[in-house]
Structure formats: C-alpha cells, structure tokens
C-alpha cells in the first residue's frame, strides 16, 4: 500500500461519524441538537488559526509539550535487548495524556458560550485534567466517578476537589467507569443548554471519537518526528494500553499510513480472559451498541453489559472506542491482553530499572512491550506510550506488593 493510498483509506470517520461499520450516534434525541452544534463548532474551531494558536500555546506553555522520548535501556534488557523508547506523557501537567484532549474541549466549551463542564473518570486522570482546565478557564466543573474508583483512586478525588471541582460518587451498577459514563450522560441530557460533556476518551456518539482522537493526535505526531531524529528511521512497533483508547489512538494515528510500523494495543486481561474477569473488549467481546456508539463490547447473549475487572481503574471499561474496533477489523492494529499480574510486574520493573513510576494503565503497555520486544528480536525499536504516571496508584501498588505497614493497610 502506498502512503497516499493508506492515508486515503484511513481518512475516517465518514460525515455521519462512522469508522466502517462502527461509531455513529446512538443517543437520545434530546442530545442530537447539542451533538450537531458540537460537530459544527469543532469543525469551525479546527480551521480557525486563532483557536489553534491558543490551544498550541496552552499545550506548550501550560501542559509542557512536547513531551520527551526517553530511551529505556535497562528496561529493554528485559525485553530481549530490544530498543525501547518511552513517550513520556506522564510528564505532562496533571500527569497523563488526558490534558491534551481536555484543553481542546475546554476551549471549545468557552467558544460555545457554555459555563459548565462535566466529565466521567475512572482512574481520575481525566477528572483531574478536566478540573484543572475548568479552574484555568473559570468553568464550573462536576466529575462523575464510580464509588469503587473513588476508593482505589482516593488521591485523585482529593486533587479534583482541591481544584474546585465537585466529585459525584456513582453508586449504581458496577460502580466503576461505565456507570460514571451513564450518570454523566443522564446529567448532560438535563443540562445540555449550558453544559458541555467533556468525554475523556475516543468514545461516545459522533463527533467525540473523532474529536478526542484529533486532540490526542499530537502524541503520535511528536513521537514520529522524535523517533526519526533519534534513530534515523521509523520504529518497528508502537505499543499502547487500551481502555476507551484515547492514548492509543493518539499515538497510533500518525503512524497508520506507515504500514511497516506494527501497532499493538494491550487491553486489561484482569484475572485472565479465560476467567471471565477481565476488561479485554476487542480480545473477548462482540459487536454492539454502548454509550452512543457501535463498537466491540463485553455483553452477554441478551445484550446486557457484562461486569468487568481490572487492577487498573482506567482500563476497567466494557467498551472501546469505535476507531479501535475498525483498526481491529481491518487488521491495521493488533489487540492483545495483559493480565493484572503481568501489568504489575512491568510496573515494578520500570520503577527499578528506569526510576520511573508508571500508571498501572500504562504498565499494561509496558508488559506488552516486553512481549513484543522478545518477539521482534534485539534489532527492533519499540515505542511505548507511557500515558501516565503512577503516583495515584501508590495505594494499590503498595497493597499488591505488600509494602504497607499492617496498620496502614488495614481497613480496606
């Protein structure tokens, strides 16, 4: 495939928001006008040099872009000596890639004349980023978070509150990210006139999957340039973790036309896909409709969403962005699972070999890179999107590795 042909073939979504058979808009009629307004407003902003200049200024001088590309030599020794390069989204302001998308959507919110912004969050990184942007632009902010996640990510709850956001603990369903999304949608239907729903991943009804990808695309654009500057050529593989899939779409997108570059997405295998306790949607799911989009999801034979499990709150989600479903079907990207134990081993390994504490979400990508590296051999170069830092995960990690004093570990 020539690069031009690849670019053309991958020029998705369609005007109706479809990536092949995926995506689209399965939303209540009450939201259709707002989704149309957002689609138009985003298209206008995209072509507006003033909007782009303001976003670029924030990304560079507020969020700290470009993020560095760090060679992980000692870590790479554990992957058969492969050359591993870490795209350091963990070094962004607020500690993850989430800020890229949120700054874009917060500017759009202001542009649409809306004064209130709501968000769902799993690990809390998107919530923190949204609370941050809301503080910066003077917007009212409410973040919906599953009750279970407010416990395992308590530090991020405090951060959001510190930044002036209201955090609503969602006590319905599985009390995780999926239910936080449900509650955010419910609120949005009744407040849509003055509120923007800042969806945190490449998911939801059109235009969200496309728009969030576009805001995250900068990760791959920078990486592509940085790898070429450093190594003189394109990498052999690009690796990312996939929950909803925004960090993965962000780093994949610029490489899609480079058909020699393998793209790997690693989903949360939980206790193992065979056990049924996992969140590996593309590996173990089937096609359906959830949260406004047609995509792969984990569902039973009646179409009821299945409970998911992952040590990582940010990947604990039964759906996946529609563009990933499309990349999966076309074979352009390959999706595999990493179970809890593999992820936590990689988490520990990166801490001890590189002095970098990754987010548990990103640790799934690191564990994936160890596998891919061994498969590709020592001459290969593998880029890993280190999508977030692990400060928020210290409680979970300390428990997992038994680092807690008994007294401090009790009561959970």
């Amino acid at each position: 495939m020539t690069i031009d042909a690849a670019r053309r073939d991958f020029a998705v979504p369609s005007e109706s928001g479809h990536f092949g058979r995926f995506g689209g808009r399965f939303a209540p009629e009450a939201l259709m006008a707002a989704l149309d307004e957002l689609t138009v407003e985003y298209a206008t902003a995209k072509g507006d040099p003033k909007f782009q200049a303001e976003l670029t200024d924030l990304l560079e001088n507020y969020a700290g872009r470009p993020s560095p590309l760090t060679e992980a030599k000692r870590f790479g020794e554990h992957a058969g000596g492969v050359r591993i390069l870490l795209k350091r989204e963990d070094l962004n302001h607020t500690g993850s890639h989430k800020i890229n998308n949120v700054l874009g959507q917060a500017l759009l919110t202001r542009r649409m004349g809306k004064k209130r912004i709501i968000a769902e969050t799993g690990a809390g990184q998107h919530g923190v980023a949204t609370a941050t942007a809301a503080a910066l632009l003077g917007l009212e902010c409410v973040v919906y978070m599953g009750e279970e996640d407010t416990v395992r990510q308590a530090l991020n709850v405090a951060r959001m509150r510190m930044l002036g956001a209201e955090v609503v603990s969602v006590k319905t369903g599985s009390r995780t990210l999926k239910d936080a999304c449900n509650e955010a949608f419910r609120n949005w239907v009744s407040t849509v006139d003055g509120t923007h729903y800042c969806i945190g991943s490449t998911m939801g009804p059109h235009p969200f999957p496309m728009m969030v990808r576009d805001f995250q695309r900068i990760i791959g654009v920078e990486t592509r340039r940085q790898v070429i500057d450093l190594t003189g050529s394109l990498p052999d593989a690009v690796v990312a973790c996939v929950g909803g899939g925004s960090n993965a779409m962000g780093i994949f997108h610029a490489f899609i036309p480079d058909t020699d570059v393998k793209l790997y997405g690693f989903e949360a295998g939980g206790d193992g896909v065979g056990t049924g306790k996992h969140a590996a949607t593309l590996v173990g799911g089937s096609v359906g409709v959830i949260h406004g989009m047609r995509t792969y999801l984990l569902q039973d034979e009646d179409g009821q969403t299945m409970e998911t499990h992952s040590v990582s709150a940010g990947l604990d989600y039964p759906g996946v962005g529609p563009e990933h479903s499309w990349l999966h079907d076309t074979g352009r990207a390959v999706y595999r699972e990493i179970n809890d134990a593999e992820a936590m081993d990689a988490f520990s390994l990166l801490c001890r070999t590189e002095g970098i504490i990754p987010a548990i979400e990103s640790a799934h990508a690191l564990a994936g890179a160890l596998k891919v590296g061994r498969e590709l051999g020592a001459d290969a170069t593998v880029v890993v999107n280190l999508s977030g830092r692990g400060d928020k995960d210290m409680h979970t990690a300390a428990q997992w590795f038994g680092l807690m004093d008994e007294e401090a570990g009790a009561g959970r």
């Binding site: 689209g24 009450a30 999926k178 449900n182 949260h291 009646d302």
Partner: protein
C-alpha cells in the same frame, strides 16, 4: 369502560385497515387504532409503562393487566437493560430489581403475549443494544408472534434505524421514535417521517421520573410536531402525538390531554409499586393511579 374486556381481535375494525388488515393476532388494531378510539371518545389515550420482570415476571403481567382493566389504552413493556442511561432513579431501581431477578428477553416476549391478550396494543420500549444483539429481524419476528404492536426506541435515531425500519415493514410493526424540546423542525420532520403508531414527545430535557410540574415547553413541542405532521403530503397516515416524561398525577394528565393525543406515564406507576408493602397493595395502588389518570385524560378536553 373502554371496551378492553372484549375478546381479542374483534375489538376495532377500523384499526384493522390502519395496520393493513394482516392477520388476526391479539391487539391487531395497532397503537394508532387505540389513539383513534380515544379520539373518537373525545379524550386523550392513556399509555402506561412497566418494565418486564418487575416486581417479578408474573407480577409485571398482573400489574400490566390491571393497568389495562383500570383504563390504560396502550401498554409499553420495558426491556430491562443494564445501562439505562436515559432513566432516572425510579425506573433504574425497578429495572435493576428485574435484572437481579434474572429476567431474560424470552420473559419480555412472554409478558407481551400475556398483556396483548387483554386486547390492549402492547409495545416494547427498549434501548437498542438488546435488539441489536438478538438480531433485528429475529426480534421483530418474535415480537410479532408474541402479539406485540411495535417498538419504542429512545436511543435509536432514524439515521441508524435502517435495519429496524425494514424489519418493522416486513413484520408489520409500529415504530415509535422520540422528539425532544431541542429537536429542530428538520429533525422533527425526519423523525415523524419514519414513525408509525404515534410519535413520542419527550416533554422535558432530562431522564425519566415524575415531576411536580409539566415543562412549559411541552405544549409548544406538541404544537410544532403537529404542524410538521400536518404539512406532510396528502395521503400520509395520521400520526398521533403521545407526550411523556414527568407525568404522574390526574391533574397533570388532564393538563397534557389538553394539547396531546396521548399521555404516557411510567415512573409514577413504578413508584407506587416500589412503595407498596405487598404485591396486593401494589396492585391496588396501581389500579387507583390508573383510574385517576384515566379520569384525567377525560377531563382535559
């Protein structure tokens, strides 16, 4: 009082023509027939909602049957879904109970069959994924064989409804889509263009649940929708407008009956059932509320 005790099938000859006169299953008058009948009596139609499996599969059948007996013209059977993101806490609770109780899609069809046998046109209201998963044509086929009148699809827009519209045509089922306060006239036109049975006007911007006042925009929405419908080319079938979301008392029903063709009530029934100390008390409370609402839809004109 409204003829629902008559044997199934022989209830409404006029409606037979509306639905094309095919077959003679239960409730063949279709939903439009029930609206016409109410209109002929100088009142609005009363549409009651209840999820299958709540409080139990048989319990829901008993309650819905009671709703028909006490004056509901049309019944909507909700298909319990794990992620009801357009429902407020009341319906969420009921649906959650139904799912915990193990309700399956086969139970939904069983419920439809039992309720349709009363003679009241019986619709299924469902989020799209369960239908998608079941297979759109298979779902339509099985709904039709259960005597169901059609589907209400709150998260399916006409743009994504190609397969369903085809299946509905094949199996002669009503398709009810929603219009909202925020819908443009262009969208109302597109939506009413694919509806059959009635068009569901969502009277407020929000999730389901009884409210103390009916949104003032509701009458305007009905008026705009009626204008769009009346601008349709001659020969287009009549399309009544049912108004739902937030209606819970006889007075509200009367108010809505003043401008809409049908009054849709859901959460208020479920509230009665959730608050009832026993199944019998629940049935009594539902009967009482139905009678109050039935009186309301007659008072409003």
């Amino acid at each position: 009082m409204s003829g629902h005790e008559e044997p199934a099938g022989g209830r409404d000859g006029r409606a037979e023509t509306v639905s094309g006169g095919l077959g003679a299953g239960p409730a063949r008058g279709g939903v439009a027939g029930a609206y016409e009948k109410a209109g002929a009596e100088g009142r609005a139609a009363l549409v009651g909602y209840l999820p299958a499996g709540f409080p139990s599969v048989q319990g829901a059948i008993d309650v819905a049957t009671e709703m028909v007996r006490a004056g509901c013209d049309v019944i909507e059977i909700g298909l319990p879904y794990s992620d009801p993101l357009m429902d407020g806490p009341t319906i969420q609770d009921a649906v959650h109970q139904a799912l915990v109780g193990g309700v399956r899609i086969s139970d939904v069809f069983r419920t439809v069959e039992a309720v349709a046998a009363t003679g009241a046109p019986t619709l299924v209201m469902t989020y799209w994924n369960p239908v998608d998963r079941y297979g759109v044509d298979a779902f339509a086929r099985d709904l039709r064989s259960a005597g169901g009148a059609g589907l209400i699809t709150p998260d399916l827009a006409p743009e994504e409804a190609g397969d369903w519209l085809e299946a509905a045509e094949t199996h002669d089922l009503d398709r009810i889509f929603l219009v909202a306060l925020s819908s443009t006239d262009e969208r109302i036109q597109k939506i009413t263009g694919v509806c059959r049975g009635f068009v569901y006007a969502a009277s407020l911007m929000g999730v389901t649940g009884a409210r103390s006042v009916v949104d003032t925009g509701a009458a305007r929405l009905v008026e705009r929708t009626r204008k769009v419908i009346s601008d349709r080319p001659p020969g287009a079938p009549r399309l009544p407008i049912g108004l739902g979301l937030g209606v819970g008392t006889g007075d509200q029903a009367a108010e809505v009956a003043g401008f809409a063709d049908g009054v849709i009530v859901g959460s208020a029934f479920i509230r009665r059932l959730l608050d009832a100390p026993s199944e019998q008390a629940g049935l009594d409370a539902v009967r009482e509320l139905t009678a109050e609402l039935a009186e309301g839809v007659r008072r409003g004109r």
